[in-house]
Assembly symmetry: C2
Homo-oligomer: 710 residues x 2
């Protein structure tokens, strides 16, 4: 990784083939592409996020969704409502996962877990100048960091005029652009319909990221407000939110090659990286990360058991690690299959040739500095991976820092430690009740630290290393860790006590855990500051880099789009099958009959006898695709989505809902990192949703409320 | 299984949709079907097994093959030459599996293992009357058995006029018809060409029975004869056999939907069973067998190790069991997927309705008796599975029986114990050197016998059970088995000593193994006789059954064909893809590029750099399919093959070789048992063979010798 800049200059960048998670304002400039894909309406009609159909699109925070009636009825994925809508309303006697749930009137709708919200974006504006006000390219980095942070805090404070409203500063293009998003929080959300799990998550983990797919990954919720129409938390007399804009639902659906687009809130992508980062990731980084995850999974398996309940407590952590393991492994495989490294090398080479010819000396210097900083980051990536890893130490340190910050007036505190953040901090501690066991935590930390001490001293934190006896023999180190873990503050209850203490009270405690934190406190602060300096410098350097990149894109007649950042995006294209393996073709539609074919009677392929009989009776109603000769269940399109897009409306050229996007394919999941045109999005078909509501559930109340287009 | 005949009468049989492993003489009656499939030549041209192209088809005994030059050059599968052509010519220093082998002149061709033969069928005639001469429907069953056996021995003796000639009595339709096959044995066969294993068995066990497939499963051998033109064993001055008939090889190949047929020697199918057998197999029998295999595999894994070499010795046994395990498991799955039991039930019902109306009282009685006998067989299937299982006891008993038989004149001995069989018996003993370990054998036997003793006494052999103390406590039984296994005759060498002894010498031996055999000797004979009686009775009853079935088939305008029995058969149809899973379509051709795509660098997906470069260079030569845009590697057709068909010529409507059949698909392997129209045969494409000989091997000598059609 210690490549000279010269070597890099002869090489490298990015954005290979399109993909595109476009901001709505970009649509007019994509007229040709939209026409090519089969969209003939005025492109202005999809360029304003605050007009129909864009303003029918909402967010659950972690998922996307869409209004589908004027009374606040919302369609999203089943997997988006499992944890916070179905779980809290289920019991052994009344297991909604098994039975599913349908409210046959609004009165029957079920309250979600506290804190569940629907977010409706009200405004979005460019605030780059405001955020950077007071900085220049010459501002010292730490100073720059503080100015940006303070500007940001002030803007948010000014924007959040009531507790209905949440405001967010979003960075686009690594801080080249900042936007302020003003969002209405609807705080009373209720479950209206969820199919049983044998439909909603049919195929389970086995089919996750897989096609052919047969998952009925749909659910309906409804947003409520106070009688005065303002956002309120749950109350009996709340009334349905009036949704000015909502999507009609197509019973005709789409066919192969039809135009489709997806509107939603994709979370995060990494498509605008420099090539040195790519080269590290693809030749070492991903594999190292997968190895790390694998060892974590094994450790959890080894050190948890059913007897003391620890296996349940770490189930979420483990399945999260397994999910990532599957995903990153898929990315490694995909990178190989699609020659991602070579393609990115060629892209970067093209960019650098452009830079050589067109950039000023100053711009070149900035770019070289950026590459050098990233090389430095890469050099410590591995040791940083194994630094820490103790939830106990991490939380205690977090609370100490929080106590210190709370000594200051609210506006002077760092982001994340302000009054608006305090409830979330307490919730994080409470959450540990279901995700933390001190014995297991110690084992996980031990495994990390044993690895950490094998790194060269200059890749480690010196005081931390000394405090933990990392350069002594292993026993001496273990004794120290035993000592720290003998703390009084080893449970969420005790941590809540810490939370209540002032900084001074904490610093006066006599406890081996707190004693350790005192030793490393200054070092932690200095590394925090280092991080802030580096972040501010990178923000500047990346802005310069993005400007060059924009120009380069202009020069080759391509358009650039920002990495996903949980803001509203549009992706468009066509319903399309794919061949990813020699002699194997995936047709874009799966059918009801495929559900029966996969049925084994055992989870996750265990449909009810009733559903099996209904499918076998071939009573397709108005929801049959004549071409397919059945009701389509899931379909493929060449659209560009990522995590956070789950539940996004897939709409046709008339803006009718034809599906809900819910997954990608493992073979092309590398697209999150570097788009490949073979990438496919899996949506659950509106016809399967309607057929289910009609034939399986006889949900007349819903079918009457929504607008079905035949 | 104890169904009353009445219940069965309201039910059941067989032959659902066609398939068809036809005897050549049947082709004229299939004119319409042939025309429908795209064959427009005179159908008489493919009805005589002793005319071109049929007489170009030969057998290796366990595989099929075809002459492809006038000088005895033969094409077959790679996997058909591994054990007896490549293995004996390989060493650590000269590993032909790794390097492959090409003789650039006849002088370089390599001798196969001793005993390897090419069989050329010279005559085939119906001898049913001769075989049954001296019997009537009223002949007592044991008498009937003896008459048939004696007739058969006499016919063979008369037919085998020289050691060039082997004659076989083949039973068709369970003994409704007998045919005499006169075969020329070519006893000097040499390896001409085999690709390296990374081509010839690319994909290995993982891809076995799978598609998409990319296996270069082809090899070339040559038959030699003495200078006088007669069959001789290997000698330096032997000369190539003159093959009057041989197939030209197509460089144009076939495309989707083209007519193809396969000529070869399929080994065994089970498509003419009664429904009570089907019902048992599909509801219990297959699963029991799979469970048995699984326990065998586990036992071998547990009780063998590398230290004493036993894991190597049992490798073949184990991989055989694994192969069967995979196959039968696939059949169980396929039976479920294709509703085989229900389909067979309906077929049988149709047949029984016909029987009710049209059969005589005598015919019905015969049928009922057949069903009852099969019910009885079924009742003892499970206990019989666990009877025996000791290779030690089995061989010693075999040798005792052989010694007893050798006391008689040759013609009076039972089949299998005649002079013509003695060499094979000795070879079987010698083979134990590579497949037998007394410690492991005892463990396998113990596992069997522990299960066997759990069956009701009336399902077991009484004297055998008593001699092994099966009804005593386990320790007493184990002591007995220990005793038997303490025999002096526990090695192949010692068994060869037994082989040399007369019956009287053996009976006078004092040895725990022989002592045990003496105790059960009479019981064994009585069960042998029981078996013979039952076989003869079933031969009669099945002949009657088949006659009814023929009439039934006539009445519904279907043609019947005999189960595979290692005689020459023709199957015809089209090059065709298949969809076996919702939304997944298998294209009928795989391509060179697919080889590279599967390549991981690790066995069994480890092509050479040279091959990879050649493929990537896209130098397709004259072997490209324009439609595919590449050289086809393997292709699918809807033809009907089974074990023994490996290496069969796949030919086009002009009788040119377009491929070599080598596998079926696991998903439809149930076809061996009950044909399903979704069944597909995988052939390696002639264009891949030619491309390999040309571009990879530069095998000019071969390319000049064969006739390539462009």
């Amino acid at each position: 990784m210690k490549k000279s800049i010269i070597a890099l200059l002869t090489l490298p960048l990015l954005l290979s083939s399109y993909g595109g998670m476009w901001e709505p304002y970009q649509m007019p400039s994509l007229k040709k592409e939209l026409r090519d894909a089969g969209f003939y309406k005025n492109v202005e009609s999809i360029s304003n996020p605050f007009e129909y159909p864009m303003n029918a699109i909402v967010s659950l925070g972690y998922c996307s969704a869409a209004f589908i009636s004027p009374e606040g009825l919302i369609a999203t994925n089943y997997h988006c409502v499992e944890r916070d809508f179905i779980q809290p309303n289920s019991s052994l006697e009344n297991d909604l996962f098994e039975k599913g749930f349908l409210a046959r009137s609004k009165a029957e709708e079920l309250q979600a877990a506290p804190g569940q919200k629907i977010y409706v974006t009200l405004e979005s504006k460019d605030i780059t100048n405001e955020i950077l006000q007071g900085t220049s390219d010459e501002t010292e980095s730490l100073e720059r960091f503080k100015i940006i942070e303070n500007n940001s805090k002030a803007i948010i404070r000014e924007c959040e005029t009531s507790d209905e409203i949440e405001c967010r500063v979003r960075s686009f293009y690594s801080g080249e652009t900042y936007k302020l998003e003003k969002v209405l929080q609807l705080r009373d959300v209720r479950l209206v319909y969820a199919p049983p799990a044998h439909v909603g998550e049919y195929g389970g983990e086995i089919d996750n990221w897989m096609y052919p797919r047969h998952t009925g990954d749909f659910a309906l919720v409804r947003a409520y407000v106070g009688k005065d129409g303002t956002s309120k938390v749950y109350a009996d007399d709340n009334i349905p939110f009036t949704s000015d804009s909502y999507l009609k639902i197509s019973a005709k659906g789409v066919e192969e090659d039809d135009f489709v687009m997806i509107l939603g809130y994709p979370g995060r992508t990494n498509r605008l990286l420099t090539f040195n980062q790519r080269e590290y990731d693809l030749s070492e980084g991903f594999q190292n990360y997968v190895d790390f995850l694998e060892s974590r999974i094994n450790l959890i398996e080894t050190h948890t058991n059913d007897e003391d309940g620890s296996s349940l407590v770490y189930r979420g952590t483990k399945s999260g690690a397994e999910n990532y393991y599957k995903k990153i492994s898929g990315q490694i495989q995909g990178a190989k299959n699609f020659n991602v490294l070579e393609n990115e090398r060629n892209n970067w080479r093209g960019f650098m040739q452009y830079v050589e010819k067109n950039a000023t000396a100053q711009e070149k210097a900035y770019l070289n500095e950026l590459l050098a900083i990233i090389d430095k980051d890469i050099a410590t990536t591995e040791s940083n991976r194994y630094f820490g890893g103790s939830t106990l130490i991490q939380f205690a340190n977090y609370l100490l820092r929080n106590a210190e910050q709370r000594n200051k007036p609210d506006l002077e505190r760092k982001s994340g430690y302000q009054d608006r953040d305090q409830e979330a901090i307490q919730n994080q501690i409470k959450y540990l009740n279901n995700a933390f066991n001190i014995r297991v935590d110690k084992e996980l930390f031990l495994a990390n630290i044993k690895k950490y001490r094998t790194f060269d001293a200059d890749l480690r934190r010196p005081i931390y290393s000394q405090a933990l006896n990392l350069d002594s023999d292993e026993n001496t180190m273990l004794l120290k860790i035993d000592e720290i873990y003998s703390t009084n503050y080893s449970t969420p209850e005790k941590m809540l006590e810490l939370y209540e203490m002032s900084f001074e009270e904490m610093m006066n405690l006599e406890d081996p855990l707190i004693d350790f934190l005192k030793v490393v406190y200054e070092e932690n602060l200095s590394y925090e500051e280092k991080g802030e300096k580096s972040a501010a410098r990178k923000q500047l350097l990346k802005s310069k880099f993005i400007k060059l990149l924009r120009n380069y894109y202009d020069s080759i007649d391509k358009q650039i789009y920002a990495d996903a950042n949980s803001t509203l995006r549009v992706t468009f294209g066509n319903v399309l099958g794919i061949s990813l393996q020699d002699a194997v073709y995936y047709h874009p539609f799966t059918s009801l009959e495929g559900i029966v074919k996969k049925n084994t009677g055992e989870e996750p392929f265990n449909i009810s006898k009733k559903l099996e009989n209904l499918i076998n009776s071939k009573d397709y109603g108005a929801y049959e695709s004549k071409k397919l000769g059945s009701v389509p269940v899931n379909f493929l399109s060449d659209l560009d989505i990522t995590n956070g897009n789950s539940g996004s409306a897939t709409i046709n050229k008339n803006f009718e809902l034809v599906g809900l996007a819910f997954d990608g394919m493992l073979e092309t999941i590398i697209s999150d990192y570097s788009f490949v045109p073979q990438a496919r999005t899996i949506s659950v078909d509106s016809r399967y949703l309607l057929w289910t509501l009609d034939k399986v559930e006889n949900a007349e109340n819903i079918l009457e409320e929504i607008t079905i287009v035949n």
